[in-house]
Amino acid sequence: MSNKIASLTQAELWGALQNQLESGTLGEPVAGEVPDLAADPDYLFEVLRTRLAEHLYRAMKAAGLNENKLARKLGVSRQAVNEVFQMKTNMTLKSLARFCAALNVEPIVGVQQRKQDVIDPVPIMDAVSSRPISIPLPAAASGGQVDWGLSGLPAGSTGLLDIVNCEKSRAAKGSRNGIRVAPPKAPVGRTMAA
């Protein structure tokens, strides 16, 4: 504690801080803040890769396999399987399909509107009422999030990709506008936020 602070009474200190509170700077961080990565494609790539690694790892464990057994089933080296779980590779969709087939699970692909765009949609002035109205951006234009998940293969499934388009708006939270080619059974991990 500095001498300057030590020489002040608690009442004087609280009084000085009250002034800082009123100026809106009380408790400012002394170092830089963690930057926002939501619009960084390289970050979204890492998120996808991490989700995929975790979901595939869970599916492997659920199937009672280890990396060696899975590698044998896939006809690849253990190293190749390990690199997927270590998030070292940029897995192709073809490889993902092979993993899913070997693990008897089905991939789910979907996108959803990014939170930021939902909170703060582009304001457009309504010419009639002169009131700003909000039009949520389509996922493609706003760069919505892409989520990957895996689900158990439904009986008699053709193994088709289950493509869910779930553009979600905060106003209509819980509603999902999607087309499912092959509805999955209970998901292995978290799939889409409802």
Binding site: M1, S2, K4, I5, A6, L8, Q10, L13, W14, A16, L17, Q18, N19, Q20, L21, G24, T25, L26, G27, E28, P29, V30, A31, G32, E33, V34, P35, D36, L37, A38, D40, D42, Y43, E46, V47, R49, T50, R51, A53, E54, Y57, R58, K61, F85, Q86, M87, K88, R114, K115, Q116, V118, I119, K168, R170, K173, G189, R190, A193, A194
Partner: protein, 193 residues
């Protein structure tokens, strides 16, 4: 920033400024905003300290010292790849009740750091030490960072040990600190009586 309510609660709790150690859990803003709608969400916070600084010729100022956020901010400039991976892992951890892949999160193997876990980056050097807050049983609190060098010599292992112990010490501070009425993410270690 601290709002009026928090300020009043600290004042009411008779916290001795400049003497007591005032701890708080600071949110990682972008993760909070990004995951606000997630079905499963376990907040991930950094352990920070509220200090009263004398300033340079000005009145005393209350500032937040957040070494973890500062380190993350550093990584975001100098270790961009590692930073993205760590944050990607944190996002995964925050949205899942349990992580099974040890390449994302694994327990720290150290006798004096039981309960501490490590967010790892494969093919990278950054490490983040976290623990589950026993007070709410839900949040993960980051208390330390470490840059793992490729050359694992005795000197390097010692540095790693020190980083783990520092993180464990900071965790113990949070666990031992007393709650402050009206606040859930603030605690105080009374030193000045």
């Amino acid at each position: 920033m601290i709002d009026q309510r928090t300020f009043e609660c600290l004042k009411k709790a008779n916290v001795k400024l400049g003497l007591d150690t005032i701890l708080c859990l600071a949110p990682i803003t972008f993760l909070e905003a990004r995951l606000a709608d997630a079905v499963v969400y376990h907040p991930i916070r950094t352990l920070a300290e509220l200090r009263v600084d004398s300033g340079a010729g000005t009145a005393p100022r209350m500032v937040i010292h957040d070494p973890i956020a500062a380190e993350l901010a550093d990584w975001s400039r100098g270790r961009v790849g590692d930073f993205r991976k760590i944050m990607g892992n944190l996002e995964m951890i925050a949205t899942h009740a349990q992580i099974e892949n040890p390449n994302i999160l694994k327990p720290v193997r150290h006798k004096q750091a039981k309960g501490l876990s490590e967010v790892t980056v494969k093919n990278g050097q950054a490490r983040l030490f976290v623990f589950q807050d026993p007070h709410d049983g839900k949040s993960l609190v980051a208390t330390g960072t470490y840059i793992k060098r490729g050359n694992v010599g005795e000197k390097e292992l010692k540095k790693q040990d020190q980083a783990i112990l520092r993180a464990a010490e900071r965790r113990d501070l949070w666990i031992q600190a007393a709650p402050i009425a009206g606040l859930t993410t603030w605690r105080v270690l009374r030193r000045g009586n």
